[in-house]
C-alpha cells in the first residue's frame, strides 16, 4: 500500500494504567464490575489490545481498531457517507463514473478528524488492489496551472513508488509517462489544458488491470481558504482521482466549499461532508456507557441507576464539563489559557473534544485504581472491606485528577 502511513504518536499517559491483576481483583466489587481498563483494554492473554491515549485510530494497519471507534461524528451527507459500525461504514457510496467525489472532513485537532480520515482510507482499501494515495502538502495556488504542475509532479512520483510496491502496476508508470509526452507534443503554440492530461491519466489507470483507486489527500487547514482557488483545484483533481479528501479545521469553511462544489450550476461535483464536533454531556454519557459495556464482568445490580456508568458517577461527568471554581495549585483557574477548542459552549451547555474527554476519563480511572490499590495494600487485599463509596469515581475524584493533571 502506497502512501504516507503515520505511526501512532501520542504522549505518555499522565497516570500509569492500572495493572491487570488489580483490575481483575476489583472486578468483583459491585461498584466496579470491570474486567479490564476500558480505555486501554488488555486481552485475556495479557497483550494490550488498544490504548486510547496513544493517539488516532489506524484501522488500515490494525483492523481491530475498528471496534474502538465511537461515532460522535456529524454526517452531513448520509446518502453518500454515513455511520460507523463495528465492521466499517454503514454507507460509503462509490464515485460517479469518470468523476471523483470530494470528501470534506472538518474538526479541530483532537476531535477525531484524523481517525476518521484513516477509517475512510481503510474503507477504500478494503477492496484490492490497494489505492494509489497522493498526499499533497504543497501550496494550492490561485493560478490553476501552477497547482496542476505541482500536483502532477507529486502524482508521478507516487505512481513510480506504487509501481515498485505493486507488481500488478508494473506498466502503469510507463503508460503515464507516455501520456505525458503525448500531451506535451500535441500542441502547436502552448501546452494544452492540464485537465486533458488528467483525462489521459485516468484512462491509463483504468486500463491497468486491476485498476487501483486514486486518492488525493489535501489539508486545507494549513492554507488560506479561498473558493477561487479550492474550487478549480478540486474540479481539476476530480478528473483524475476517485476520491479527494480535503481536511479543514473549521466546519464553516468546509460547509461553504461543499455548498459551492455541489451547488455549482455548470459543473456540480459530488461531495460528502463529515464534521468531528465537540462532545456534550449526553455524548459523554453515551461514550462512557458504550465503552464500559464492552468490558463488564457482571451485570448491574437490580437497583443500580441507569445508564450503567459504574465506577463513574453522574456527578463526575458533570465535573468534566463544568469544573466550576476549580483552580490549579498555583491559584490560577483550570481553564485559564486553555484553548477554546477544548472547552467550549454549545447550545446545550459546555462540551469537550474527544481527546480531552478520553484523557480525563482514563486519567481519573487510573488515579482511582491507584488509590484503591493503596487501600487494598492497607487492608490486606480484601475487596469487600473497601469502604462504601470509595470505589466510585465521584465529582471530587474527577476534580482532584483534573487539578493534578494541570500542575
Amino acid at each position: 500500500m502506497i502512501g504516507t502511513v503515520q505511526q501512532p504518536p501520542g504522549p505518555a499517559p499522565r497516570a500509569a494504567p492500572p495493572a491487570q491483576s488489580l483490575l481483575s481483583a476489583l472486578s468483583a466489587h459491585p461498584d466496579f464490575r470491570l474486567a479490564t481498563n476500558p480505555f486501554a483494554p488488555i486481552a485475556a492473554d495479557g497483550t494490550p489490545e488498544f490504548d486510547y491515549r496513544k493517539g488516532s485510530l489506524f484501522p488500515q494497519t490494525d483492523i481491530p481498531h475498528l471496534k474502538y471507534y465511537f461515532d460522535h461524528y456529524a454526517w452531513k451527507d448520509p446518502t453518500r457517507l454515513f455511520k460507523i459500525q463495528p465492521n466499517g461504514l454503514q454507507t460509503f457510496a462509490p464515485p460517479a463514473p469518470g468523476a471523483g467525489t470530494v470528501i470534506l472532513l472538518s474538526g479541530f485537532k483532537g476531535h477525531g478528524r484524523k481517525s476518521l480520515h484513516n477509517l475512510l482510507y481503510w474503507e477504500i482499501s478494503k477492496t484490492p488492489p490497494p489505492p494509489l494515495l497522493v498526499e499533497y502538502t504543497a501550496e494550492v495556488f490561485p493560478e490553476t496551472n501552477k497547482t496542476a504542475n505541482a500536483v502532477l509532479s507529486v502524482f508521478l512520483s507516487q505512481a513510480d513508488q506504487y509501481r515498485k510496491e505493486n507488481f500488478s502496476a508494473s506498466q502503469l508508470y510507463d503508460r503515464l509517462q507516455d501520456s505525458l509526452t503525448r500531451w506535451k507534443n500535441n500542441s502547436i503554440i502552448d501546452l494544452p489544458p492540464i485537465d486533458l492530461l488528467f483525462d489521459y491519466f485516468r484512462k491509463d489507470i483504468q486500463s491497468n488491470k486491476p485498476s487501483p483507486p486514486v486518492i488525493f489527500s489535501l489539508d486545507a487547514s494549513t492554507h488560506a481558504f479561498d473558493l477561487d482557488v479550492w474550487r478549480p483545484t478540486c474540479s481539476m483533481l476530480c478528473r483524475l482521482a476517485d476520491y479527494i479528501i480535503v481536511s479543514f479545521s473549521d466546519f464553516q469553511k468546509a460547509s461553504i466549499l461543499r455548498s459551492n462544489l455541489s451547488g455549482h450550476r455548470d459543473k456540480p461535483i459530488e461531495t460528502a461532508l463529515v464534521d468531528a464536533p465537540r462532545i456534550g454531556l449526553k455524548g459523554i454519557r453515551d461514550l462512557l456507557e458504550w465503552r464500559l459495556s464492552h468490558h463488564r464482568s457482571a451485570p448491574p445490580p437490580p437497583a443500580a441507576p441507569k445508564p450503567d456508568l459504574a465506577p463513574f458517577t453522574e456527578d463526575a461527568l458533570g465535573a468534566l464539563i463544568s469544573p466550576g471554581s476549580l483552580v490549579r495549585t498555583n491559584g490560577s483557574s483550570i481553564d485559564q489559557g486553555r484553548p477554546k477548542a477544548m472547552i467550549a459552549d454549545t447550545e446545550n451547555g459546555q462540551s469537550l473534544s474527544i481527546k480531552v474527554l478520553i484523557d480525563r476519563l482514563a486519567g481519573a480511572f487510573s488515579e482511582k485504581c491507584r488509590e484503591l490499590e493503596d487501600l487494598l495494600a492497607g487492608n490486606g487485599g480484601t475487596i469487600s472491606a473497601l469502604p462504601t463509596g470509595r470505589v466510585q469515581i465521584t465529582r471530587s475524584d474527577m476534580e482532584r485528577y483534573m487539578r493534578l493533571s494541570l500542575t
Binding site: 452531513k76 473558493l227 477561487d228 474550487r231 466546519f251 464553516q252 460547509s255 461553504i256 466549499l257 461543499r258 455548498s259 459551492n260 451547488g263 455549482h264 450550476r265
Partner: protein, 334 residues
C-alpha cells in the same frame, strides 16, 4: 449733563463681534458698549420767563438736551427706542399738570415710580404706588396727566419716562429738534428742548458690514463649492465603479456565483455576511465601491440582513441580476 439713556443690547453674537473688533481695531470695550455719548448737556429747567423776575410754575429736570443714536451693528440700528427719565416738579400747587412733546415724532411718555430703577424704560405695565399689576391699559401715551393726590392743588413731584421715537432718523447725520412741555391751567407752558441726532455708523458697524459683506458671500461660495465638489466626486466615483464592473467581469462573476452563493446557502454558517464582507475586502472589491454604497454595505453586513444584502448587490451589479435572483430563491426555499 450725562443722559440717563441706554442703547439697545448687542446680544451674544454682537458682543463677540465687538470684542473681536476691539482687539483688531484697538477700541475700548467701554466705547463699544454703545452708550450714546451725550455731547451737549443742556439746561435741565425749561421755561424761559418773560421777565427776569417771573418765577416759573414748574421745572422739568433731569432731561438731557440732546440724545445721540448710533448704528453699531446692522440688526441693532432701528429696532429700539432710546429712553430717558426726567422729573416734573411744580413750584406752586397745581391740581393737574399735562406733559406732552412737540417735534419729537411718535415719542411717548409714561409716569414712572420714583424708584431709581436701572432701566428707566420699565416693562409694559408700570406699577405705581397703589396700582395693581393687573392694570390693563398701557401707560405710554403721547401726552400724560399728572394729578395731585386727593384732587386738590398741591405740589406735584413726579418722574416721567420718555421713549424717544427715532424712526424718522433713517439716515446718518439727521437730527430731530423737539420740546417736552408741561402745561397747567392758567399757567404758561414750561418746556425744555430735546435734540435727537443719528450719528454716523460706528467703525464697528462699518467693520461689521464689511465683515459680513465678505464672509457671507465667501461662506456661501465655500459651501456651494464644497457641495459641488462632493457631487462631482460622487459622480466620478460612481462612474469609476461602473467602469470597473464592466472591465472586470471575471472576478465579480466568480465572487457572486461562488462566494456569495455558497456562503449564503451553506449549512451552519454564523455571520455569513461578515464573512462575505471580509472576502470583498481581501479581493479588493470594497475599495472599488462608491463611499455611500460602501457604508450601506457595511451596515447591512453588520445587521446580517441577507435579503437587503442581495438587493444592494443587485443594484451594484445589475449585470448579475439573474444569478442574484437565483440565490435569493435558494435562500427563500432553504
Amino acid at each position: 449733563m450725562r443722559a440717563d439713556v441706554r442703547g439697545p443690547h448687542p446680544g451674544l453674537l454682537g458682543t463677540i463681534i465687538i470684542v473681536a473688533f476691539a482687539a483688531v481695531f484697538e477700541f475700548s470695550i467701554g466705547e463699544l458698549q454703545a452708550e450714546p455719548v451725550v455731547t451737549a448737556p443742556g439746561p435741565s429747567t425749561a421755561a424761559t420767563p418773560t421777565t427776569p423776575t417771573e418765577r416759573p410754575w414748574a421745572v422739568l429736570t433731569g432731561m438731557p438736551s440732546s440724545i445721540h443714536v448710533q448704528t453699531y451693528l446692522p440688526w441693532k440700528s432701528r429696532a429700539s427706542r432710546p429712553c430717558a427719565r426726567f422729573r416734573v416738579i411744580t413750584l406752586r400747587p397745581q391740581a393737574r399738570v399735562e406733559v406732552a412733546t412737540s417735534g419729537l415724532g411718535g415719542t411717548v411718555l409714561a409716569a414712572v415710580p420714583p424708584i431709581a430703577a436701572d432701566d428707566p424704560c420699565l416693562p409694559r405695565k408700570i406699577i405705581g404706588a397703589g396700582e395693581s399689576r393687573k392694570t390693563p391699559a398701557s401707560p405710554w401715551s403721547d401726552h400724560i396727566v399728572l394729578e395731585a393726590a386727593g384732587g386738590s392743588p398741591a405740589i406735584i413731584d413726579r418722574w416721567v419716562a420718555a421713549r424717544i421715537d427715532v424712526s424718522s432718523l433713517t439716515a446718518d447725520g439727521t437730527t430731530m429738534d423737539g420740546r417736552i412741555m408741561a402745561l397747567a391751567p392758567g399757567e404758561r407752558p414750561v418746556d425744555t428742548p430735546l435734540k435727537v441726532d443719528r450719528l454716523p455708523g460706528s467703525p464697528f458697524f462699518t467693520a461689521a458690514t464689511w465683515f459680513l459683506g465678505i464672509i457671507i458671500p465667501a461662506g456661501a461660495t465655500a459651501i456651494l463649492g464644497y457641495l459641488g465638489t462632493r457631487a462631482v466626486s460622487a459622480a466620478t466615483a460612481r462612474a469609476g465603479f461602473r467602469s470597473y464592473v464592466v472591465d472586470h467581469p471575471g472576478p465579480i462573476t466568480n465572487f457572486i456565483r461562488n462566494q456569495v452563493r455558497a456562503t449564503l446557502v451553506a449549512e451552519g454558517i454564523s455571520n455569513p455576511l461578515r464573512r462575505l464582507l471580509e472576502d470583498m475586502y481581501q479581493k479588493e472589491l470594497l475599495s472599488k465601491l462608491p463611499s455611500g454604497a460602501s457604508k450601506r454595505l457595511r451596515a447591512i453586513c453588520a445587521s446580517e440582513d441577507k435579503q437587503a444584502f442581495l438587493v444592494l448587490l443587485a443594484k451594484l451589479f445589475p449585470e448579475m441580476g439573474h444569478t442574484i435572483d437565483e440565490i435569493r430563491n435558494e435562500i427563500g426555499n432553504a
